[in-house]
């Protein structure tokens, strides 16, 4: 089992009446709510937490990409990974940007990922999300009906840019390069492990299986609701005749650990509520621009949210409801261990993206939960897929000899 400590980097100061006063945490939320001075502290705190996670034993540090989003303050995940590359030494840098259809020309992504892989000595996990409709269509203005074609073309360009040893001509529909030439090239060969965050479309299953990419379901709604989607994924793996290594798959789960179940609720209740009720307050009109999804993947569950009564009565879920529905796995180390074991086995996932910092959770509390999970839960889950330990296709392969950053001059002189 591998555990990635993931920080979404939410803005911690959304007002109490956020839901009533604003229609969405994403796309059209006024940037007047952002305070750069406070932001300075917030970014550095979040980076500290990621670095801390490495020291207590997490296998990877996760960052992702969102735009115009107050719960995801990483328009450029590569910048965060670059900061982490110098202050960490062992963990994988799991970058679940870059949304390759958004960059023009997309060879920029090949270059930046190669830089990260080289700086970190081969610790990059390269994520190629399509990106949500909020990010790609509404915040970045990409035409929904041609987004996936752009994505496919960008993917072909990046893979070829990493593979070729000579400049080549790339004559795409959206990108035309007379001299496609990626300097630097990644350390990991033939390319860094590639993770694709998915949301249930059959086309994405096939794309991952055929390319041996990890398929990661980044839902905020827990493993009980994730079950059907992952069952469909594994069914497709079987249909295409691929092996069933659990390392093909990942799942994001919100996790809160304390000494007891009661302490978990007392400590984390308000922060979890902040996340689910303020951070996930998204205007439904932004969720799925027409043409973003193929018609066959439009889910009826989603449609139901658009009736007037449902729009009016957006749920304010209690701690008990969140736990019961599996949106969060929370409680004592033993409670969390049991539920995580059930999650890992029922979804058949070799990677967990651990969402431990929740909403406006303060740093010391985040460390407490992070450390308890690492010390008292992770060891019991490590061996679940021990039969597949030799499978190295879906993880980093760093250089054996890696450079340690030199102390800065003033420190060295002391």
């Amino acid at each position: 089992m591998r555990f990635v400590w993931f920080n979404l980097m939410p803005w911690p100061d959304l007002p109490e009446d956020f839901r009533e006063k604003y229609r969405s945490v994403w796309v059209d939320i006024p940037s007047a709510l952002y305070d750069p001075t406070r932001g300075h502290e917030v970014y550095n705190t979040y980076l500290d937490q990621l670095e801390f996670a490495e020291t207590v034993g997490y296998d990877g540090l996760g960052v992702n990409e969102h735009h115009a989003n107050a719960y995801g303050l990483m328009p450029s995940p590569c910048l965060m990974a670059a900061a982490l590359a110098r202050r960490t030494s062992r963990a994988a840098l799991v970058v679940l940007g870059s949304s390759i259809a958004l960059y023009d020309p997309p060879i920029r992504v090949a270059e930046e990922f190669a830089m990260l892989d080289v700086i970190s000595g081969g610790r990059l996990v390269a994520g190629f999300p399509v990106g949500t409709s909020m990010d790609t269509n509404y915040a970045y203005g990409r035409v929904p009906g041609t987004l996936r074609e752009r994505y496919a073309e960008a993917h072909a360009l990046i893979r070829r840019a990493w593979a070729e040893d000579q400049p080549f001509v790339f004559n795409g529909r959206y990108t035309k390069l007379r001299y496609a030439n990626c300097w630097p090239k990644p350390v990991q060969k033939p390319h860094p492990p590639i993770f694709i965050p998915g949301g249930g479309s059959v086309e994405t299953y096939d794309f991952c299986i055929e390319n041996n990419y990890n398929y990661s379901y980044l839902s905020f709604f827990g493993y009980l609701r994730g079950r059907r989607l992952m069952d469909n994924y594994w069914q497709r793996v079987a249909e295409l005749g691929a092996d069933d290594s659990p390392y093909r798959a990942g799942f994001a789960q919100s996790i809160c650990v304390a000494e007891t179940d009661a302490e978990a609720e007392r400590l984390y209740g308000s922060h979890v509520s902040y996340f689910f009720n303020r951070c996930l307050h998204i205007y439904p009109g932004f969720v799925d621009a027409p043409g973003y999804r193929t018609v066959k993947t439009i889910q009826s569950e989603f449609l139901n949210q658009l009736t007037r009564p449902n729009l009016g009565a957006a749920a304010s879920l209690s701690w008990g409801e969140l736990v019961e529905r599996g949106y969060i796995v929370a409680g004592s180390p033993e409670t969390v261990r049991q539920r995580m074991e059930e999650l890992i086995k029922t979804l058949r996932v070799g990677n967990i993206m651990c969402l431990i910092h929740m909403g406006d959770m303060p740093p010391e509390m985040t460390r407490y939960s992070t450390e308890l999970f690492a010390r008292k839960v992770m060891p019991h889950l490590r061996g679940i897929w021990k039969d597949y330990e030799a499978d190295e296709r879906f993880w980093i392969c760093p250089l054996a000899e890696r450079v340690v950053p030199a102390p800065i001059a003033a420190e060295a002189a002391r």
Binding site: N137, P144, G145, G285, G291, I298, L303, L306, L311
Partner: protein, 262 residues
């Protein structure tokens, strides 16, 4: 007047599209807006009392196929000429509503000698900072009647044909149809319905009539003045008690305005 409905092969079989045809007299090709057009449209019936009307459905609408190859404005403009050719028509009068007006104006700009009479009903295609077109794509279904119609209650009846917008089953079909149609429309309209038409308007030679609902909340009536100023000799008629769906709210008044083109 009942319409004939048939499929036509376009562009040497590259695409197959649905066409509604009704009426008699001189030929008129009607290009529909982002919401599409139905066989029983009262506007088609009103047009058909004066012209021989052909209303092709753009790929992505109804059972018209081939949307995947139409990626941008030029492709749709040329496709629309291919449709005129496939119908065996020679320089028919072109009338377009909203997105269809944008396509018709592009056709008249790109090939000014091919378009002699042009009716533009609340066409998209321009951008005026002082009069922005709201974001059609993020609207929720229940917001559409008041957005599209002067009279929202009438609009809701028209959009739903009597069904309930809060019935999940109806809503599902409505949204799936919308997703397919607007995926195509988005190639011309998303995120801003401006594909450079303003730079080409001067080329239009057609006798042009512009028609606008006075209460249009989708494309503000000021866009009518901008079109009028950009096309030599164009005339603009504003219709009271009508929103963007002026063709449904005041079909006879729209036909009377278009009739001035002869």
């Amino acid at each position: 007047m009942s319409a004939r409905s048939y499929l036509v092969d376009v562009a040497q079989g590259r695409r197959r599209i649905r066409v509604f045809e009704a009426g008699g007299g001189r030929p008129l090709v009607f290009l529909h807006g982002a919401g599409g057009v139905t066989e029983d449209s009262p506007f088609l019936a009103a047009l058909a009392r004066r012209w021989r009307v052909f209303a092709p459905l753009l790929p992505g609408y109804g059972d018209s196929e081939g949307a995947e190859d139409l990626r941008d404005m030029l492709a749709v403009t040329l496709h629309s000429f291919d449709v005129v050719d496939a119908l065996g028509l020679d320089r028919p009068m072109l009338v377009g509503h909203s997105m269809g007006g944008m396509i018709a104006a592009e056709m008249a700009s790109v090939a000014p000698r091919e378009v002699e009479r042009l009716g533009l009903i609340a066409p998209a295609g321009l951008w005026l900072d002082a009069h922005p077109v709201p974001d059609l794509f993020s609207k929720l279904p229940h917001e559409l009647p008041a957005f599209l119609f002067h009279d929202p209650e009438f609009g809701e009846r028209m959009l739903t044909a009597g069904a309930d917008l809060d019935d999940p089953k109806f809503l599902e079909a409505f949204i799936i149809r919308n997703a397919r149609q607007l995926a195509m429309a988005g190639k011309l309209l998303f995120p801003i319905p401006d594909r450079g038409l303003a730079e080409r308007l001067y080329r239009i030679r057609a006798r042009t009539m512009l028609v606008w609902g006075e209460g249009d909340r989708v494309i503000p009536p000021a866009h009518g003045d901008a079109f009028c100023g950009g096309i030599a000799g164009a005339e603009l008629i504003r219709i009271p008690e009508a929103g963007h769906m002026v063709i449904i709210e005041q079909p006879e008044a729209v036909v009377a305005a278009l009739a001035r083109l002869g």
